[in-house]
Symmetry: C2
Subunit: 175 residues, 2 copies
């Protein structure tokens, strides 16, 4: 059975979307998606509020209530039947997110067991056949096939096979 490694944030969970919604409701200011390119999505928020956004991201509970990426539940449930599936999230930098992430997965992806979850710092020691991730830094050392999941911060990256949404994941892995 081939092993598929799937990232969390910006791939199955939507922290950027949650932050944008909270931010525009609170401040009524626009987010500049072009400023996220090659930096990170926090940089798209007006400079005077980036620290507040970061503090919110670091707080207990932020990763507990994130929206689910459209289609990811149905597609991963099928992938889980045909592949050896692991969810791997670079989360150790944010200790308050760890329990939140496991509980969020239990809620929205109940078919994924604790055995299939990895929370790490660097993904360079993760081995498998396929990796879906929105960060080049996570894909770059991977020993298997690499798929860059499109996100506002990576739209300029050219040299990876790109996946834009979960319909495309289904086409590639279940098609």
């Amino acid at each position: 059975m081939e092993r598929v490694i799937v990232d969390m944030d910006e791939v199955i969970a939507d922290p950027m979307g949650e932050m944008v919604q909270w931010y525009t409701e609170k401040y009524g200011l626009a987010v500049d998606y072009s400023k996220m390119i090659n930096t990170g999505w926090i940089k798209g928020f007006p400079e005077q509020h980036q620290q507040e956004c970061m503090q919110r991201l670091l707080s207990p509970g932020f990763f507990r209530n994130l929206p689910v990426m459209t289609g990811s539940q149905q597609v991963l449930e099928e992938i889980n039947k045909r592949y050896e599936l692991f969810i791997v999230s670079a989360a150790i930098e944010f200790p308050n997110s760890l329990k939140d992430k496991v509980e969020w997965l239990n809620d929205y992806f109940p078919f994924i067991t604790w055995r299939q979850i990895v929370l790490c710092g660097d993904k360079k020691l993760i081995s498998g056949d396929h990796m879906i991730d929105d960060h080049v830094r996570n894909l770059i050392n991977f020993n298997g096939k690499k798929y860059l999941f499109t996100s506002a911060h990576n739209v300029d990256v050219m040299d990876y096979q790109r996946i834009d949404n979960w319909k495309e994941v289904a086409d590639i892995f279940l098609g």
Copy 2:
């Protein structure tokens, strides 16, 4: 640089030792180490108190205050200079332990950064050159050299290179 994967519980941290000390102080009853063999260290506690021990293990804070295995700090600090070191703990089953484990590492092994920490379910997707672990189930699928760190529950295992203490780790990796 060769990659060394080191386990936490029963290798650099001592949850069994902590539980035995707490238990004997509270109940004044003996722990039967022979019952741990091939099962797990919880089975060494008298049956009527195993559930209480397990609940204590699952509570927030238990993994925050564990004793450090003798010699592990000094030896790992040197290993960290000569190898690519990762600490990999099968902890996802215990969501309350996750933040505790990261904070405990920050306290007692401050030279280990968040990039070098992995909390997982199954270790089968972890790749490296050397793995030190007290569980055969973690070593069995590893692609590199395997070292079984001696613990009360594994004294009957014969077919692995065994390490009894951190002096021996130093002899092998720094000698």
